[in-house]
């Protein structure tokens, strides 16, 4: 890496400016709100310190939502990365019809959350769902499986739908990372390692490790702060089985008119997300932050 003596403003300003505008003021405002009592039906907005945070953490709703979000992230993010990498490796081969598979694999990506939700509702629905119909006609089951309406199965169903929407991106990024691998390295690996698995572990994986970290971090963030898809599929139900933290924020702010509490939940989410990210980047170190020699 080369060193520059001054901060390269012109290079960075176009990227930093929009982000600054969209983050500094809003985050500052949200932080301020979390430290004051901002309830629409009550006059004034007095400073209340960490009161909102304490109230929020004392409610059982918060812990339900936290647990749901953590479990969801814990299963969804690695699944996306693992499946994405496997599919990407598979698609590196040229076989008859590989072009078609490479195009079809992109489909889940082009859909907004609300649409994916409708499709997966159709797959999982208890009365007119396709999955139950197929399983029934194959005589595997005779009662329909309550994919969406059992508090135990609903989280699994939304996880499957969520993973489905994120796979294409993981595949694309992994394929892009794989393409940057020096062809000599690949040839050498083919000669040295008989087993595909060993080849992957000792040669490919280290090369694409930074990309995998990026994918894991991105997917963890997306899963932890997710909203659209799960909301459209189950609205947090049945009961509170799929209520995520993001719903809690929305509900506190807009339905219960308590923006202070909503913002407090948001910042707790920030803390947890930051912890997650640090944990992930520590566990899988990469040279993203520079300093090593290329």
């Amino acid at each position: 890496m080369w060193t520059i003596k001054r901060f390269p403003l012109l290079w960075l300003l176009p990227a930093l400016l929009p982000v600054l505008l969209m983050t500094l003021y809003p985050i500052g405002h949200a932080l301020w709100t979390s430290l004051h009592r901002v309830m629409i039906l009550f006059p004034g907005e007095p400073f209340v310190g960490l009161d909102n945070y304490k109230r929020v953490m004392a409610s059982s709703y918060f812990y339900d939502a936290l647990k749901n979000s953590l479990v969801f992230t814990f299963f969804a993010a690695p699944s996306v990365v693992v499946i994405g990498v496997l599919v990407a490796l598979f698609l590196q081969r040229r076989f008859f019809g590989s072009q078609i598979v490479r195009s079809v694999v992109l489909l889940p990506w082009v859909l907004p959350g609300a649409i994916s939700a409708v499709l997966w509702i159709w797959v999982f629905h208890p009365s007119f769902g396709v999955l139950n119909a197929i399983l029934r006609s194959l005589n595997i089951i005779d009662r329909s499986i309550p994919w969406l309406i059992s508090p135990q199965l609903a989280p699994i169903s939304v996880t499957i739908a969520h993973v489905w929407t994120q796979i294409p991106f993981a595949v694309i990024l992994t394929m892009a990372a794989l393409s940057t691998i020096n062809s000599e390295t690949l040839d050498a690996a083919a000669l040295d390692c008989r087993s595909s698995f060993k080849r992957f572990r000792y040669v490919l994986f280290p090369e694409i490790r930074s990309m995998i970290v990026v994918l894991l971090v991105y997917n963890s963030l997306i899963a932890f702060t997710g909203y659209d898809l799960v909301y459209a599929m189950t609205s947090g139900g049945p009961g509170t089985a799929t209520t995520l933290l993001s719903f809690q924020i929305w509900r506190e702010s807009f339905s219960m008119y308590d923006f202070g509490a909503g913002s407090a939940v948001a910042f707790i989410v920030v803390l947890i997300s930051a912890t997650l990210i640090i944990a992930i980047t520590r566990a899988l170190p990469s040279d993203l932050f520079g300093g090593d020699e290329p």
Binding site: L41, P126, S235, P238, G239
Partner: protein, 427 residues
């Protein structure tokens, strides 16, 4: 000389004309915010209004029902220009107290208003009144009803249930002969009507959730609402209930013929029986809400004016003209909703209108409906009701699916209600 006089007269006339147009000023554009039910009908109504009222334009903004309240709060907080809105009876006390909406007295001539309010049905009138002030005119008023599939019941030899025990018995019988979850239920903790439906069922049993002083009394195991929640949790645990997130999924579900009962708004019955799309159209009917009293919840959604607009005389006048057109006058628009869409109405004269009766006869038994409407009661709506309902609905859902006990939920709900009541009293 003649010519000069003529020219002078002409220029004077032009001058007066120009002055008049200048005085008339620019068009006023009213911002009308609604939820997205039947936007094409609304647009058409707006067109008719604009044609009759040159100088007033109406700009329509819509949100989905689930996002409506939240989007409106955002608008109010940010002072986005909003003039006439759809209001809901459960939000009204809070919005009135926060100063978001103004009483109609602020914008309407008093005798016109009183003549119109005389024509409004009981539960609708109470829903739109806060502190003896009327805040809206009915957009649509309805009851929540118990719907069943006639053909399924007839084929199975089951009589129309009149108590909740009979509903259980009927459902178990249907389940035994292969129907997996006979009762479809809109179980969505994010929707206010999830709570409304619960209240409706409690009213069927003749129960009240709050006493005359607005204290919560439903935590008592003898209270009908308590018993109804027990019934729901029980039915769910026996696999008799299939939850759906929205009425738009209930319609296809019921039309698969795999379910026999549901509790929905009446216009959903009109949609269920629509032969244009539904394979089982005509098989669905309304029955009186099961329970000792067969009463149900009646409610009204209405047109309201924002306080900001009411304070501006020009806009206030335009807003009143618009509200009066949509919900008052000779009730043409209200009738249109009733006939074309099966939307209930809060204006009493329409009950006797032959066009309405004829149109409605196609999808519901009008005499049963009138019977139900006659026993419908309004709900108890308070300033903290909306906040409390958002808190209580997830609890209700948890109790139904068995994640919490009925007692826990009712106790917590009552406690929170009483807490909030005190908080708001001491503001």
């Amino acid at each position: 000389m003649q010519l000069k006089k003529v020219l002078l007269a002409m220029s004077m006339a032009t001058g007066v004309f120009a002055a008049q147009t200048a005085l008339a000023g620019e068009d006023i554009t009213l911002e009308f915010v609604v939820w997205n039910y039947s936007l094409d009908t609304i647009q058409d109504n707006i067109k008719i209004f604009e044609a009759k009222n040159p100088g007033i334009k109406v700009n329509l903004t819509d949100y989905t029902w689930t996002d409506y309240q939240d989007s409106l709060i955002l608008r109010f907080r940010s002072n986005t220009q909003t003039d006439v809105i759809y209001g809901g009876q459960d939000w009204l006390p809070a919005w009135a107290s926060a100063g978001f909406v103004a009483p109609l007295n602020d914008i309407a001539p008093p005798d016109e208003l009183s003549a119109l309010s005389d024509d409004i049905a009981g539960f609708a009138l109470s829903d739109m009144t806060v502190d003896d002030e009327l805040y809206g005119l009915p957009y649509y008023a309805d009851t929540i009803s118990f719907i069943y599939n006639k053909k399924i019941l007839d084929d199975a030899g089951i009589a129309v249930p009149r108590t909740w025990e009979e509903v259980t018995a009927a459902s178990l019988k249907l389940q035994a002969s292969g129907m997996e979850r006979p009762f479809v239920y809109e179980l969505n903790q994010e929707l206010p009507n999830f709570f409304d439906a619960f209240v409706a069922q409690s009213y069927g049993r003749g129960a009240e959730l709050f006493d005359a002083d607005q204290n919560a009394v439903f935590a008592d195991p003898e209270n009908g609402a308590y018993k109804q929640l027990e019934w729901l949790a029980d039915a769910y645990s026996q696999g008799l209930i299939q939850p759906e997130t929205h009425e738009s999924k209930i319609i296809p579900a019921m039309n698969t013929g795999n379910h026999a009962f549901t509790v929905v708004y009446n216009y959903v019955l009109a949609a269920l029986n629509n032969s244009a799309t539904q394979p089982l159209a005509g098989q669905f009917a309304l029955a009186l809400m099961p329970g000792a009293e067969n009463s149900t919840l009646g409610f009204s959604k209405f047109y309201a004016v924002t306080a900001k607009t009411a304070a501006d005389p020009e806009r206030a006048e335009a807003a009143w003209k618009f509200i009066n057109f949509m919900a008052g006058g000779d009730y043409t628009i209200a009738k249109r909703w009733a006939v074309e869409k099966g939307l209930g109405f809060g204006q009493l004269p329409l009950y006797d209108d032959s066009d309405v009766i004829e149109a409605w006869g196609k999808w519901v038994d009008v005499s049963t409906l009138n019977q139900q409407a006659a026993t419908a009661k309004a709900g108890v709506w308070t300033e903290w009701g909306g906040v409390w309902s958002a808190y209580f609905r997830p609890l209700l859902a948890k109790a139904m699916v068995g994640e919490a006990t009925v007692d826990e939920v009712m106790q917590e709900g009552a406690q929170r209600w009483n807490e909030l009541k005190e908080q708001f009293a001491n503001r």
